[in-house]
Point group: C2
Chain length 189, copies 2
Amino acid sequence: MAYPGYGAPAAFCPPMFTPPAASDPMWGFFTAVAGQDGEVDAEELQTCLTQSGFSGSYTPFSLDTCRIMISMLDKDYSGKMGFGEFKELFTALNGWKQNFMAFDRDRSGTVERHEMIQAISAMGYQVSPRVLDVMVKRYSRRGRIYFDDYVACCVKLRALTDNFRRRDMMQQGRVTFLYDDFILCTMAV
Amino acid sequence: MAYPGYGAPAAFCPPMFTPPAASDPMWGFFTAVAGQDGEVDAEELQTCLTQSGFSGSYTPFSLDTCRIMISMLDKDYSGKMGFGEFKELFTALNGWKQNFMAFDRDRSGTVERHEMIQAISAMGYQVSPRVLDVMVKRYSRRGRIYFDDYVACCVKLRALTDNFRRRDMMQQGRVTFLYDDFILCTMAV
Ligand SMILES: [Ca+2]
Ligand SMILES: [Ca+2]
Ligand SMILES: [Ca+2]
């Protein structure tokens, strides 16, 4: 039987051609955030997201969520983001924000269990009801999922799925992990 | 070649005999923290650790660290702790606190990279230098690992190792995961 797939398109394919960064409208913003070392770490990202008002009336991003966001993109495990990754992150963040607002159907400002099930499924992930339960319990407070935790949950699911997919050469939905590699691709997210 | 093992004794073996909870000196403390539902969730745990002054002069525990602590013990994925797990958690926390103080050799109040390598190794984990790098980058701020993040890191490594070990029937250091099970045992920690 063919494996039905674990859903969601492969994330963050590198573009075919990357224009010179300096001509990009986001370049000035990036260099201001990155500071002297030219890369953005978790604390710089948190400051930038807070100051730019990205969360709006939602809860601001915790340092932990910022770390998870960076680790999602951080293929070389440097703990920092260059310009390309910074842009990818903002694209993804805008997607999750729209998604969050769309699935908060009763406009409570939070996503509840039944709304989360629809959101995860709309993103294309195919997970069992048991996994959905675990996710909702892990990321909700008194049954409500706030925007910060919603993003942390989406980022983590995406990073774990990407790590799994990269090792699932035959796309069979099955991967054999050595202990060290298992810890490598799960500790950072 | 025999696999050298991934170290660290199996965590949280259930005791052979559990005395009636009411005769236990921690019972009153537990019931006060747990409230009406008789179980401790992440927010109750955070309040309890803050009010009891457990962190001392160290940074208080974030809600995220409290959630990870509960998920480590939460075999039925209820998101809450009963009395037995609550006691196990305090035993583990005391161990990590002693461990943290012991390996902070220069008494900076934080554990630095070279101190962390010794701490992880003393706990019995056998991970590659690359995994150690990833852990230090993920849990440090400007090169320093604070107590809250140290505990989050230890809890996560222990929970992931336990999940892996439980599936590694032959103790070969190798486990084949289906996608859904991989997400189940990595999303909650
Ligand atoms: Ca920087
Ligand atoms: Ca809602
Ligand atoms: Ca130190």
